[in-house]
């Protein structure tokens, strides 16, 4: 088996560059890193919680989830990628079920990658945050 790069770091950089212009958004990277500890469902759900209240932050979470899902797909694990509405309870429960039905082994792999991915996001956040911009958490 040869070494294969999943370009986590490059993908993280792309996300940060895409979202850095909106105030307070990339500061969410720190929250993401903390949320990993609570598992895939909680991480996935944050986009929906935020999309209504603070859309730019919600978009960042959604983008991050989609990038992450694409990376995992390359590694052979399929994660839900579709856009779900905050009001669509049935769909929300369906996705939650799907996530918890992943074999524990796959969940562990996902969380290990997500940890690494969030570490990269935090790293780029610290480099690309705009001076004087309130990022909630610095």
């Amino acid at each position: 088996m040869t070494w294969k790069s999943y370009d986590l770091d490059q993908e993280a950089q792309r996300l940060i560059l895409k979202h850095r212009d909106q105030k307070g958004v990339i500061g969410q990277s720190h929250k993401m890193r903390i949320t990993v500890a609570f598992g895939l469902e909680r991480f996935w759900g944050e986009q929906l919680r935020l999309l209504d209240k603070e859309p730019p932050k919600g978009e960042y979470w959604r983008d991050t989830w989609k990038s992450f899902a694409k990376i995992m797909l390359k590694a052979g694990i399929e994660l839900p990628q579709e856009n779900v509405s905050n009001k669509d309870t049935i769909k929300i429960q369906e996705i939650a079920t799907k996530l918890w039905q992943l074999p524990p082994e796959d969940q562990r792999i996902c969380l290990a990658v997500l940890t690494q991915f969030c570490d990269s996001l935090v790293w780029w956040t610290q480099r690309y945050k705009k001076l004087g911009v309130d990022d909630d958490q610095q």
Binding site: G39, R42, G45, L48, R49, T89, Q93, A96, L99, Q101
Partner: protein, 534 residues
């Protein structure tokens, strides 16, 4: 295979349809979250290492250390093994604010001139509940901001859930890198006494996280007794919640300021005094806070028919109004005058907590045997001097003028411009918006107005259930108070006059309402005299 509905709430998405802990309309979720937390939490309290010095402090009411980890819910910081925890970093911050600059450098460290930092000699280990009894107390705490609804208009108001600890005894730990003399430890704990006195955790100005003693921050003390309906926690049990004082005082401050200046200035000054949210500028920490210690409190239930309602009987309690910031002696004096007058005003015309706009029917209208209505508050002996003496009913006019003057003085002290424009708020205390009527009542059985709320006041005329008296879901425009009558003797002593009360009606008339106008035409023909307002 995992059933996704059985996954602990912490691991579920915080959205509708999944584990939305903070959703107040479904308290089952927060109860489940508490259960999941408590179930996994350790039974034995963490103990500090033997080389760490410790000291215990009892918190008078609730304590919350917001972890800030979940955005929509305020819940404690949880340490290893599940125990709630006051973080060492917070402790260090509070400690260093109570230090002199030399002490700060020595104990907490700081920056040296060459941009290098120097560590302090102390390590702050934070605080834990002394034992596991905190799990037996109700942890879900409902926070219910309702100022807009009560004073300004009928805007909707929503409550939210918070997780806080009820009357915990917290043990704090400090260690030193060097061996210190006992005398130095005494200095260190004195600094911590001073630090904790300002309250620890969140919402300290509303009475959360307050220790029992406040020798340094105390601005003025009122000794009180009172009875009435208790607040209901989410599990329907009753709790006497000291934040009723803050709510009442903040509300009255806003009413009084809006009587002498425009709404924006009134809000700004109120916010400066009591704290609050300032839109884009974030939260403002108030200059005033409250701490309440219930010395003798009994909780009970009131029953009628099949209903039960939690009630309190506070036989003795001490309310401290605190000065939260570092301020000059001169300013402190002014602040004390203002806070004292606002509190005396609150006692004169209303009471505290639920149903504060009405007198306690059990005391003044015992024939009434339905819902419990009203509450009754008095100063106890030690605080008699805070009663406004009313030798003559017309003295109320002077008293209210004096309060207006105090409020106006504050406006000037703050360099704000008084404005005589009339506020559009419903309960603004402006002579053109409010009328105060009064009479002397001989004793408890002599409340005239209480009967008007439950029957006709004259012939077939009635104010019962009108927009003046209010009904469920709608706040009325009338306060009714039986204020114990105290008089000033020739020797200057303040003492109770027999069993007499000053019966007071505070009315914010709706000029377009016919029932109100009829009632105002009737009042001068009753025993009541108009004492304030146009």
């Amino acid at each position: 295979m995992t059933n996704s509905n059985e996954v602990p709430l912490m691991f579920q998405a915080q959205i509708a349809g999944r584990g939305q802990i903070q959703y107040i309309k479904n308290p089952k979720q927060s109860e489940r979250w508490i259960d999941e937390w408590v179930e996994g939490s350790a039974i034995d309290a963490p103990t500090f290492h033997t080389n760490i010095k410790t000291k215990e402090y009892k918190i008078t009411w609730r304590f919350v250390s917001n972890s800030g980890q979940d955005e929509d819910i305020i819940r404690p910081v949880i340490a290893a093994k599940g125990f709630p925890f006051y973080p060492g970093a917070s402790m260090k911050g509070a400690f260093s604010r109570a230090c002199t600059s030399e002490q700060r450098e020595k104990y907490c460290g700081g920056k040296l001139t060459n941009d290098d930092t120097q560590p302090g000699s102390l390590r702050f280990h934070g605080g834990y509940p002394k034992d596991a009894t905190w799990v037996e107390q109700p942890l879900i705490d409902v926070v219910h901001p309702q100022q807009d609804w009560q004073i300004k208009n009928n805007d909707s108001h929503s409550a939210f859930i918070q997780i806080s600890l009820y009357q915990p005894t917290l043990v704090f730990g400090i260690s030193s890198t060097k061996i210190l003399e006992p005398s130095e430890w005494e200095i260190i704990w004195n600094i911590w006494d001073k630090a904790i006195e300002k309250g620890i955790g969140s919402r300290v100005s509303a009475g959360y996280g307050q220790p029992i003693n406040q020798p340094e921050t105390k601005l003025v003390t009122f000794n009180l007794r009172g009875q009435g309906l208790a607040s209901q926690l989410i599990d329907k049990s009753g709790e006497f919640r000291p934040n009723i004082f803050k709510a009442a005082l903040r509300g009255h401050t806003l009413r009084l300021f809006s009587g002498v200046t425009d709404e924006n200035t009134a809000e700004e000054l109120t916010r400066e005094l009591w704290g609050g949210f300032a839109g884009k500028n974030g939260a403002v920490v108030g200059q005033l806070g409250i701490a309440f210690n219930a010395v003798d409190l009994e909780m009970d239930e009131y029953r009628y028919g099949r209903n039960t309602m939690p009630i309190y009987e506070l036989n003795a309690g001490t309310l401290n109004i605190l000065s939260m910031g570092d301020i000059s002696t001169e300013y402190k004096k002014e602040l004390r005058t203002l806070a004292t007058q606002i509190f005396r005003f609150a006692m004169l015309l209303g009471s505290f907590g639920k149903s504060w706009r009405r007198i306690d029917h059990r005391l003044f209208f015992p024939e009434y045997e339905k819902h419990l209505i009203g509450c009754h508050w008095q100063f106890t002996q030690q605080s008699n001097k805070y009663y406004f003496p009313v030798n003559n009913i017309n003295h109320i006019t002077n008293i209210l003028n004096d309060i207006h003057k105090t409020v106006n003085n504050w406006l000037q002290l703050k360099g704000k411009i008084p404005s005589n424009q009339v506020s559009y708020w419903r309960e603004s205390f402006h002579p053109q918006k409010v009328q105060v009527w009064g009479r002397i009542a001989q004793d408890e059985d002599d409340s005239l107005a209480v009967r008007w709320f439950h029957g006709n006041y004259q012939g077939v005329k009635s104010i019962k259930g009108s927009s003046l008296t209010g009904k469920l879901g709608q706040i009325g425009r009338l306060w009714h108070r039986m204020y114990p009558r105290y008089i000033k003797t020739k020797e200057g002593e303040i003492r109770r006059k027999g069993k007499e009360y000053v019966e007071l009606l505070t009315i914010f008339p709706d000029k377009k309402d016919e029932i109100t106008q009829d009632f105002l035409t009737f009042l001068p023909t009753s025993d009541f005299t108009k004492l304030w307002g146009k």
